[in-house]
Structures are given as C-alpha cells and as structure tokens.
C-alpha cells in the first residue's frame, strides 16, 4: 500500500495543492484579545515576550509513508546495521558526524539538518515508538494523531485547541471573529484536508493547499460579479431569524471565510527574503513563514511530505530516500533562517515525525518494509539541542524490528506542557512524563 498513490485517480490541480492552520486568539473573546494586542505594542516585538504562551507557535512536519529512521540517523558504529543492509546501508565515510555523539550520524543528504545541528537548533530523539506497534500506515498514523494506541477519539492538537481556546463557545468555524488586527484560524493545515490530529470538538481546523484557492474562483469570470458576491457573502447573521439555525451558522461562516481569505492571501502574497528549496515542503514552509510574519494568531501549523514508503529501490547514500531527506533538511534550514531574519525564530518550535520506521533488514527489492521505532526531530532555538536519547539496540530485535525506547506521547507531553504551557494530562487523557526536549525558558 502506497499512501501517496491515492492521487492516482484524483486530479489535484482543480483545487490545487495544500496547507493546514490552528490559532488560539481567533476564538478568544475580544476583550482578552485586545489586551494581548495592546501589550505587544507596548513591549515591542513579539519575540521579546518569552514565556507568553499566547505567542508560541508549533509547526508539525509529518513525513508520510513511514520514514526509514535507520537511514536518517545512521548507527554507523553498529556492525549489525551493515550486515542487515548490504545494499542500502549508508557507508560510514559518507555519514555526517554529529560532534561527540557516539556512533550515530546523519544521512549525507541531510546537510540542512547538520547545519541546524551545528547552530544548536536541532534535537534528535531516537527510538521513538509505542507499545504493540501497528504496521498499517493508516492505523499507525491514526495512533500518532490521536495519541491513543486504539486510534480512537479526537486529534491531540484538536484537543489542545479545544482545551485552550474555545471554552467561550466562539469560533465555531475555526476562523477569526474580528476582521481588524491580526488574527487567523486556531490551527491551519497545508493540505487537501485537515489531518485527524487537528480534529477537535469545538473548532474546525482550516486546511488549504494554496492560498489562491482559498477564495471564490467565480470572480474571475466577470468583473461585474465581484461586488454582488461580496454583498451576498459578507452579511453575517444579523438578519437571520433564528441565530441557532443552520442558515445563521452559514452566514457567520461565510463572513469568516471571506475575512480569513483576505488575511491569508495578503499574508502569503509577501514573499520571503530567504530562498527556499523549490520543493513541496519548502513551498509549504514558506507559506507558514509568511503567515507567521504577518502576525496571524494561528497557534499550530501542520505541513506534510509524502513518499517515504520506500519498499523498493530506496537507495543508500544516494537515491530516492536521500532526495526526500534532502527536501526535509533543506526546507527546515531555510525556514529557520527566514524566521530568524523576521525575529520570530524564538517563538516557533517545529516537530517532525513519521507513522513508523522501517524494518532493520532490507528486503529483496532494495527497499525496506514497515517497521517500528524511529527518530523524532525537534527544531528551533527553544528545542533542546543534541542527540537526546540512545539509539535502540540492533542486537536484540523484536521479530526483526527495533524495540522503542521513548513513547511518542512523552514527547507530545513535553511539547504541550513545556512549550505550549498547556495541561498535557488533560489533553492526552493520561499522565506522561514529559521528555526533556525543550529548553528551560
């Protein structure tokens, strides 16, 4: 099963390509919003407010298909690695060394990560997984999204947004309430649809592939349509007979949509000063950076890159898997260079994960099959830098798979409690010891 092949019979061009987003402020009542806004003005730039949770942003980078962790962070000192992967093992001489970190290094195509690492902006958590791993893409992805090994319930980000922002019964459409000032949807995904991770009870996440598509295409048909279209779609629910009717709900959502469309398209129309690699992930992160620069109050951005299901011909130091890694490293390097120029780097933490790693041994097709534990990456000035946990052993495998050492939910717990200053126990439904992955402020 190849995750990306579902597009084989769809025509993406019609509605374009994608970004998903989430912001707290959009749903905070105006008086609180106003106060925070005024405070920013007084205190100057947003980055001068360390420890103000409102201003902290999480960017999630999902690598879909099951990234081969062993060829990402390479355990070059373990002979079992080369024995299991005679055709695709990354030769020791090609591995990018990580200072004193013993025995592991980065894939040679991860020059971007190496640069982040050298700047103290990259944290690597090795051997991340969960008990009784599921090897189905969909099931395992759902487990990561719900933070629940039965893969049921709402998404972990959705629950975060619900718990933090929407106790006021506002923001039913997940978009801004106020056309003035900088606001935005609480969470936003770049993609065709918002991932399960962002689905909550109270707020509907916003997803779009291209800001140009986040608007009515009909206005290009004839200019005389524009003004009446605006008149018809920016009315709000004032004239609705019953505010609780579906008609009133639609009138409100329609106004929200027009306002967010203006705001987001304006934000991404300003091009970045930094050159991003011309790949899918680079394009998505450039959009996120533009929205952050424009001051959207979106709290969580979600971007995705597919193609990691490397069952055949994945290559070693060169080849298909390396090209994907090069995209990831290059795009994130550019993203943080950009954020630093904006003065927003301190506010943004990026978390990268995949639904599982791959089996230790290569298969007969020069690729690898679905496996278990793999590294997670945290990027940003506030991520604790370095190689943060041990590499799982290769001599004691579970039926050919790595045994996990760190439960991914302890990383979520750290992001929720130490970065977003939220109650991780309430959100995850259980108490997980926060992994030490965030710097103490």
């Amino acid at each position: 099963m190849d995750l990306s092949s579902s597009n084989a019979y769809t025509r993406r061009e019609f509605l374009g390509r994608g970004l998903v987003m989430a912001s707290a402020a959009a749903t905070i009542p105006a008086f609180i919003h106003g106060t925070a806004h005024a405070m920013n003005k007084v205190l100057g730039s947003l980055s001068s407010l360390p420890g103000v949770p409102d201003e902290r942003i999480l960017v999630v980078v999902q690598l879909s298909g099951g990234n081969d962790g062993l060829n990402t962070v390479v355990p070059f000192s373990m002979s079992e690695y080369y024995r299991a992967r005679p055709g695709i093992g990354v030769p020791e001489r090609d591995v990018l060394r990580l200072g004193s970190s013993d025995g592991v290094g980065l894939h040679p195509q991860l020059a971007g990560f190496k640069s982040l690492y050298d700047d103290g902006l990259l944290g690597i958590v090795q051997g991340v997984g969960y008990p009784n791993p599921n090897r189905s893409h969909f099931k395992s992805m759902d487990i990561w999204h719900t933070a629940d090994t039965t893969a049921t319930g709402d998404g972990w980000i959705g629950k975060y947004i619900d718990s933090e922002c929407c106790g006021f019964g506002k923001g039913e459409s997940g978009t801004p309430e106020r056309p003035d000032g900088a606001s935005g949807p609480p969470s936003l995904a770049i993609g065709r649809t918002a991932p399960l991770a962002m689905q909550g009870r109270l707020v509907t996440p916003v997803a779009f592939e291209n800001a140009d598509l986040f608007r009515w295409s009909g206005q290009e048909i004839h200019k005389s349509l524009r003004e009446p279209y605006d008149d018809l779609n920016r009315r709000g629910d004032e004239q609705a007979e019953r505010k609780e009717s579906n008609a009133a709900f639609l009138l409100r959502t329609s106004l929200d949509a027009q306002v967010s469309s203006d705001m987001i398209r304006k934000a991404v129309a300003q091009r970045s000063q930094v050159q991003y690699p011309g790949n899918d992930l680079g394009r998505q992160l450039a959009m996120v950076s533009s929205m952050i620069r424009a001051g959207l109050k979106t709290r969580v951005y979600y971007v995705q890159l597919g193609g990691f299901d490397t069952h055949a011909g994945q290559g070693g130091a060169q080849g298909r898997h390396g090209q994907l890694l090069s995209q990831v490293g290059g795009a994130l390097r550019a993203f943080y260079t950009d954020l630093k120029q904006q003065g927003n780097d301190q506010r943004v933490l990026t978390l990268s994960f995949s639904e599982f790693g791959r089996r230790v041994a290569q298969n007969a097709s020069g690729g690898t099959d679905h496996g278990t534990a793999a590294p997670m990456f945290l990027v940003g000035p506030m991520a604790k830098p370095g190689v943060l946990s041990k590499h799982p052993t290769l001599s004691d495998l579970d039926d050919g798979d790595l045994k996990y050492l760190v439960d991914f939910r302890s990383v979520y717990a750290a992001v929720l409690s130490d970065w977003l200053k939220a109650d991780s126990k309430e959100i995850l439904g259980k108490s997980y010891q926060a992994a030490p992955v965030i710097k103490k402020a």
Binding site: A8, T10, F214, A364
Partner: protein, 546 residues
C-alpha cells in the same frame, strides 16, 4: 435527465414520463401558493397528514430535495400539482420506474481474488528455498493488483455518482447513500473493490425495503466481515468488533446493551466469514455453545443474534432517529440525555416513526410514507435548513439546475475535499453530517465546484468542457413566459424565480445585489447573464442548505 447534457439535451424531464404520463403538466396546472404559516420556526407536532391545500411549490421542492437530490422547476410544479399523496407515492414507488442503470458489469471481480492453490504452493516453496527473485516477483504482482484495485474503486465512485445524477429513482440512491453512511465501511481497510461493489448493491436492494433483511444481510457481507475483522473471529478466540458495532452503531445505540451482551453476541458470530466473494459459515470455527444475549438464553448463531436485536423496541427507535436525522433535521446523538435537548414535537415524531417501523416488521417504506406525508416533515423550521451533504450539493446542482456534470473524476475529487469521499467514510460511525460539513475551506470548495459546473471555470483558467458543454440555464425560466407571456420576463420576476429555485426562499437582502448585477449587464435575458445570476446564487451561504 442525462449525464453531461449539452445545450440540446439539457431539457429537464418531468418525473411523470414513465408513470401516469399525461395526468398533469406544469403548464396546465400551475402550483397554488401554499397556506402561509404563521410562525416561521414552528414545528408541527405530530405525523398527522398534511392537507392537500398546504402542499404547493415549497413543499414539493422540499420533498424533492430531502427524498432525493432536488428537482427542476418543471418537476417541482408537477409534483405540486399532483398533491401530496400522489407525489409521495410516486417517489416511494420507484420500483415501477424503469431505469437502465449505467453498466456495472465491466467491473472485474477477480483483481483481489485469493491466490490459487498453485500460486500459494509456489510462494511457500520459494520461501523455503529462499528464492528471493520469485518472492520479489510475487510481491510486485501483489502491488500491481493493489494498484489496479484502487483504480477500480475510483471507477466505482464515478459509476455511483453518475447513477445518482442520472437516476429517475432518486430516493433509491439517496437511501443507498444513507445505508453506506450507516453501515460505514472504508475501502482502505477492505482493499477489495468488488466487495465494496457487492455491499453497495446490497444497500440498493434494501434501500427502502426491510431493515431486518439488511441486518441479516450485513452479517454475511464480505466487505463488512473484513472491515470489522469477523473473518478473524473463531470459537475460543471471538473478535468482538462486529457484535459491538451492530449493537452500538447499527441497531441499538449506547445504553441498550451490556458489555456481556457484546461478548456473547461475538460468540454467536464466530465462523461467519467469506471465501472469495461468497459468505461461508465455518462450522468448525463457530461456537455452538449456549449464550445469553439481551436476556435470552439459547445456542444462538448469528441469525439468532440479529433476531434478538430486532425484537428490542430500542432497535426501531434507533433506526427511526437516524433516518430522521438524515431526512428531516439534525438531532443530537442518542446518548447521555440527548433526547432531553430535543423539542417535544421531534421526540414525538420519531416515536411515531419507530412505531410505524415496528408495526410493519421493519419495512422502511410505510415509515417513510408516513413521514413524507406529515405536517411535521414540512414544518417551517425544517424547510431550507438542512446542510447539504457534498453528494447532495454536487448531484443536486446538476439535477436541479440542469448543469453539465463535465468530469466525474473532478466531481469525486471535489467531494473528497468537501469531506465526503464515497467508499472512504472517516470511521465506522460514518459521516457526522450537518454543520460538520462546513468550514471556511469547504465553503470555498463548494462555491468553486458550482462555478466549475456552471461554466467550466477552474482555479486557473477553464476546463476544456467550457467550450464543448455550454450550460444553458434558460429552460429554468422558460415557464415564466409560457404562463404569463413576455410581461413575466421582467428582471424582478426572473430573479425571484431563480431565488425560489436555487434557495427555496426569496431573502430580501439578496434581491438587491442580484438585481444590480443583472442591471449592470443591461438586464438582458441571455444565457451568460442568467448563468451569472446563478453563479452568485450558488455562491451564497443559503445555497448550502436544502
């Protein structure tokens, strides 16, 4: 109505073409205005029959949307002139309506067939000899089949969509879609497109027939068995998935059974599996021991399990409520006191529907007849206040506005973006429906899809069909001058008629922008200008409702 009509074939077909032809025509029997209701948000309290003089254009339009995918002005007028009994009986009596359905026999049922004895032996042998080359070949072949099967399920999506667009029996497809969302199974898990197709045919066969037959059918349905792991359920190692979902989501609802009932029910279903495309009961895997299910003790099998569930009064109520939610109005989930937050008249109506279902031994048709003929169904509160599902939006626009379907692949893709990927429901709970369909992103997708249907406009540029399939909206207003001559062709009357058709209402604030668009284009009644009016109307928030 035909799929992909061009200007010449876009003439809407009134529903009386095959049955009762000639008894009524829109020209001779214009709809009377229905009695004006005093309070706009009133809910009529019971399922007492609607009076004939209360059934006019609005009610006929409502019926066509809820029991199908909307209608053309001619279809609306015809049903209105027939009056409630004849209109409802026509819609429910669809088995008498001839329909040459789009061919389905081209689907290959063997793409995912189980391996033959010989293929199996070859792989076992290769594994033993560590013959990597043969194993790799077998894996490539499997991947090829999987790709081919995914392609085929995509074809099935288009086939069903086409069927919804073309059918003269819309209630059949509407209820088939209902059952797909009710007994929700996802192709991603089933990975056998032919099983998906067989399940779809099962739903269609019983669409408004017997729910009991459907429930007996579903425990024999390969797609459902695979989806809920019952092929893995054996004596001494029962898998509870199917038994649980039947009780929780398919027939009873939370609170009407215990965990112990699930355990015992799972035992009754052990050995219910399939081989290739056929249901089989594997006696050696079936637990023949005594079980106690919902207080009844015996050596029950799967059919007994279903029968015992059908005997529960909660079952008819559960189904009635779900149908009500689908066809009438959003109701809160039937759990944790959801009933208490529902207005009394709604509780009563659902209760009466459940009674109708029970007294007809789970025949759906009498219950639906009672509902569609009731005062309650046409309450002002419910008219034009249901959020259209993506299927209703897309199919409804083609059917009611006579728009060309242009490209079924694009339509299916857009429906996915709107949150309804047919054959891929998000979970065993199906689609939540109602407001969950709408957010700021899906709203633009909805608007843009309508612009695509009406003009061929794509995000960048136009579809090739923009030239080859020109939309002609003029038949939608043809009846205006037929009835009252040229005088009726004034801008106000045209805008009024199009609002009535597209929105079901004539909101005062909408009139001015529409009129000003029309005026800025010289008030000329041309295809382009009327299409422009419809572009604006279908982009309105109110267009998302039916």
């Amino acid at each position: 109505m035909r799929y992909q009509p061009d200007a010449k074939t876009a003439e809407p077909t009134p529903p009386e073409t095959t049955v009762d032809a000639g008894t009524a025509s829109p020209e001779t029997a214009p709809a009377k205005a229905p009695a004006v209701r005093a309070t706009p948000d009133k809910i009529e309290s019971t399922l007492s029959p609607i009076r004939k003089d209360e059934f006019g254009y609005d009610q006929a339009r409502h019926l066509l949307w809820r029991a199908g995918f909307g209608g053309t002005p001619q279809q609306i007028e015809t049903l209105a002139s027939w009056g409630p009994e004849k209109a409802v009986d026509y819609i429910l009596g669809y088995d008498k309506v001839e329909f040459e359905a789009p061919a389905a026999d081209k689907f290959d049922k063997d793409i995912m067939r189980p391996p033959t004895e010989e293929e199996r032996r070859m792989v076992t042998e290769a594994r033993r000899r560590q013959d990597e080359e043969t194993l790799a070949k077998a894996q490539l072949e499997r991947q090829r089949r999987e790709r081919e099967d995914r392609r085929q399920v995509g074809e099935m999506q288009k086939w069903w969509l086409k069927r919804m667009v073309e059918t003269p029996r819309p209630l059949e497809e509407k209820m088939t879609l209902f059952w797909h969302g009710h007994f929700a199974t996802n192709y991603r898990t089933i990975e056998n497109s032919y099983h998906v197709y067989l399940q779809n045919q099962l739903f269609r066969k019983h669409a408004i027939g017997s729910f009991a037959d459907l429930l007996y059918g579903i425990i024999r349905d390969p797609a459902m068995i695979a989806y809920l792991d019952n092929n893995d359920s054996r004596k001494n190692r029962p898998n509870e998935n199917l038994a649980r979902e039947i009780m929780e989501l398919f027939a009873l609802g939370l609170g009407n059974y215990t965990e112990q009932d699930i355990k015992e029910g799972a035992r009754a279903l052990t050995g219910y599996t399939f081989n290739d495309d056929e249901f089989v009961l594997q006696q050696n895997n079936h637990d023949t021991g005594a079980k106690t299910i919902l207080g009844r003790k015996g050596n029950w099998d799967g059919d007994d399990f279903v029968r015992i569930i059908l005997e529960q009064p909660a079952c008819a109520h559960f189904i009635a409520r779900k149908v009500y939610h689908y066809l009438v109005a959003d109701v809160p989930p039937d759990e944790r006191g959801g009933d208490k937050s529902m207005p009394g008249p709604q509780r009563q109506a659902i209760r009466q529907m459940a009674d109708a279902l029970r007294s007809s031994r789970y025949q759906m048709r009498p219950m639906l007849r009672r509902l569609f003929l009731s005062d309650h169904f046409y309450s002002a509160r419910f008219m034009n206040d249901q959020v259209k599902s993506p299927a209703s939006l897309v199919v409804g626009a083609i059917r009611s506005l006579g728009a060309p379907a242009r490209d079924l692949t694009i339509l299916a893709d857009a429906m996915d973006l709107m949150g309804q990927n047919i054959f891929y429901p998000p979970s065993v709970k199906g689609w939540e429906g109602g407001r969950a369909w709408i957010n700021t992103s899906t709203l633009f997708v909805r608007q843009n899809l309508l612009a695509f249907l009406l003009t061929g406009k794509r995000t960048q540029g136009y579809d090739p069909t923009a030239e080859t399939m020109k939309y002609d909206p003029l038949p939608l207003i043809a009846h205006l001058d037929e009835r009252e001559g040229q005088a009726a062709r004034n801008p106000g009357a045209i805008v009024e008629a199009l609002m009535k058709l597209a929105l079901g209402t004539t909101p005062a604030h909408a009139r001015e922008p529409l009129m000003s668009f029309f005026a800025s284009n010289g008030n000329r009644v041309t295809r382009e200008n009327v299409t422009g009016l419809l572009l604006l109307l279908t982009a309105m928030p109110e267009y998302q409702l039916c």
